[in-house]
C-alpha cells in the first residue's frame, strides 16, 4: 500500500546497511538522515548542481534524484569512503595542495565526480577533466584550481 516502508539493503563504502524506508525517501536523504553520512551535501535538490554526487554501481549520479529503494542491493561510494583510514586519497591530497576547496560545500560531490572520472580515464586531458566536473557547480573556489588538482592527482597515481 502507498506509504508502506520498504526494506532495503545497500552497500555503502563496502559496508552493508539494512534499513526500512518510505518509498519517497531519496538516496541523498537515506545517506544523510538514515545512515548519518552527512558528507554528501544537498545543493539544489533537482539534479543541477552535483553537490550530492555519489557513485552508484560504478556510475556517478546525483543522489537527490534517486529513490533510496532504487539502491536496494546496489553499491554506493560516498565521500566518507574516499580516504583509506587516515590516508587521504590522491585527489584529496591534490585538492588540499592546490587550494581546490574554499567554502567546501561542493567539494564532496566534486571529489566523487573527479574519482569517477579517474576511475574511467586515469590520464584525462584538461578538457576531459573539465567535462568530468561539468555537472558540479562551484561558486567560490573556481574551476582552475580544481582541474589542476585533478591533473596533479592523475599524475601522482
Amino acid at each position: 500500500m502507498a506509504g508502506e516502508r520498504i526494506a532495503i539493503t545497500v552497500t555503502v563504502n563496502g559496508e552493508d546497511y539494512r534499513e526500512e524506508v518510505p518509498a519517497t525517501r531519496s538516496l541523498l536523504d537515506f545517506l544523510r538522515d538514515d545512515l548519518a553520512l552527512t558528507g554528501t551535501k544537498e545543493g539544489c535538490g533537482e539534479g543541477e548542481c552535483g553537490a550530492c554526487s555519489v557513485i552508484l554501481d560504478g556510475r556517478l549520479v546525483d543522489a537527490c534524484l534517486v529513490f533510496a529503494a532504487e539502491a536496494d542491493g546496489r553499491r554506493v561510494e560516498t565521500i566518507e569512503g574516499l580516504a583509506d583510514g587516515g590516508d587521504l586519497h590522491p585527489l584529496q591530497r591534490a585538492f588540499a595542495a592546490t587550494g581546490a576547496a574554499q567554502c567546501g560545500y561542493c567539494t564532496p560531490g566534486m571529489l566523487m565526480a573527479c574519482k569517477a572520472l579517474l576511475d574511467g580515464n586515469p590520464s584525462p586531458t584538461h578538457d576531459e577533466a573539465a567535462q568530468g566536473i561539468a555537472g558540479n557547480l562551484c561558486r567560490c573556489t573556481g574551476y582552475g584550481t580544481i582541474i589542476q588538482a585533478v591533473m596533479d592527482a592523475a599524475e601522482e597515481s
Binding site: 500500500m1 502507498a2 506509504g3 508502506e4 520498504i6 518510505p22 518509498a23 519517497t24 531519496s26 535538490g45 533537482e46 539534479g47 543541477e48 552535483g50 554526487s53 556510475r59 556517478l60 549520479v61 546525483d62 534524484l65 534517486v66 529513490f67 529503494a69 532504487e70 536496494d72 565526480a113 569517477a116 567535462q131 568530468g132 561539468a134 555537472g135 558540479n136
Partner: protein, 286 residues
C-alpha cells in the same frame, strides 16, 4: 512528495500487469522524480523497470539496431554500434545534461516524456526510427513520426510501455548530422536539428529527412526542407535553400529561453550545418 507504492518487478509481463492508470513507469527518473516532488505527477504506484533484465542494451538486428528503452545516454554515447553509423544519435546522447544525468537518463524516458526539446528525438526521427510499444496484449511498432502528440503527450495507450527503439539499417551512401543550440551547457536545447541524407550512385539526394526540436509542440519533420534537397547534389546553395525552408517549417514560439524570431534564425543556421555534416558523412568524408 505524495506517498506511493514502489514496485520493482523482474519480468516485463509482470511490469505490464502493474501499469494501471494510477501507476507510472520509472526508468532513470531524471524527469519523473522532479515532477513527483513538485506534485505535477502524483501516482499511487511507481513501477521501477530497472530490475527487468535485458532492457538496457544495444544490439544489431536486421542490419539496423535495437536499443532497449532503458539504455542510458552514456550507453548510447559509447556504443560502437551507434557512434559510427548513426553519428547524429551518438552526438545527441553526448550533450544531454551532465555526466550524472547521462548515467541515469534513458532513451525510452527521453522519448516517452515527449518534451519538444528531447535531444535524442530529432536524430531518431531523421534516422527513420520506430518504437516498440508493449501491453498485456502484445507488442506493436509505432513510427517515431507518429509518437509525439504534444508536450508530454504520446500515442502510447494507457497501460502501454515503450520497450525499445529500432533504427533501420543505414543504406549505402547515407549519413546523418546533429546540431544543437543552448544558452548554457547544461540547459535543454533552444533548438536542435538532425539531418539524414542518402545519395544515389551519382551523388544526387535520393532521400532526405530533417527533424527539428524545440520549435513546435513536438519534435517535428521539416518537409519543405527535405523536398528542397531531394534530387539535388550537395553544394552550399542547396544546404542554404533547405535551411531557409526549415525556418519556414518551424513552428517556433517565444519562451523563457529564446524568442520565436531567434529560434527561426537558429533553425536556419543549425539546419545548414546539420545538412552539411550529413552530406560529408554520406560522401565518406567525415
Amino acid at each position: 512528495m505524495r506517498p506511493f507504492n514502489y514496485l520493482a518487478p523482474t519480468r516485463l509481463d509482470e511490469a505490464l500487469s502493474l501499469l494501471t492508470p494510477q501507476a507510472v513507469p520509472l526508468a532513470g527518473g531524471t524527469d519523473l522524480f522532479l515532477r513527483m516532488e513538485r506534485r505535477q505527477t502524483q501516482p499511487d504506484t511507481v513501477v521501477d523497470l530497472k530490475r527487468i533484465p535485458g532492457m538496457d542494451g544495444v544490439e544489431a538486428v536486421d542490419g539496423g539496431i535495437r536499443i532497449g528503452a532503458l539504455a542510458l545516454m552514456e550507453t548510447l554515447a559509447a556504443s560502437p554500434l551507434i557512434s559510427d553509423p548513426y553519428d547524429a544519435l551518438a552526438q545527441s546522447a553526448r550533450v544531454v545534461g551532465s555526466i550524472q544525468t547521462r548515467n541515469r537518463a534513458t532513451v525510452g524516458g527521453n522519448l516517452a516524456n515527449a518534451s519538444p526539446a528531447a535531444d535524442t528525438a530529432t536524430p531518431l526521427m531523421a534516422l527513420g526510427a520506430t518504437v516498440e510499444a508493449a501491453d498485456a496484449g502484445g507488442t506493436r511498432e509505432i513510427p517515431l513520426d507518429e509518437l509525439f502528440l504534444g508536450p508530454g503527450r504520446t500515442a502510447l495507450r494507457e497501460g502501454e510501455l515503450l520497450t525499445a527503439v529500432r533504427v533501420p539499417a543505414l543504406p549505402a551512401r547515407a549519413g546523418s548530422g546533429f546540431q544543437r543550440c543552448v544558452r548554457t551547457a547544461m540547459d535543454i536545447a533552444v533548438v536542435n536539428c538532425a539531418a539524414f541524407v542518402q545519395l544515389d550512385e551519382d551523388g544526387v539526394v535520393a532521400e532526405a529527412r530533417i527533424a527539428l526540436g524545440a520549435v513546435g509542440p513536438t519534435p517535428l519533420r521539416a518537409p519543405a526542407a527535405e523536398n528542397r534537397l531531394e534530387g539535388r547534389r550537395f553544394d552550399p546553395a542547396a544546404a542554404e535553400e533547405a535551411a531557409d525552408c526549415a525556418a519556414e517549417d518551424a513552428r517556433a514560439i517565444d519562451d523563457v529561453r529564446a524568442s520565436a524570431d531567434y529560434r527561426r534564425e537558429m533553425v536556419r543556421v543549425l539546419t545548414r550545418r546539420a545538412v552539411g555534416n550529413a552530406f560529408r558523412r554520406a560522401q565518406g568524408e567525415a
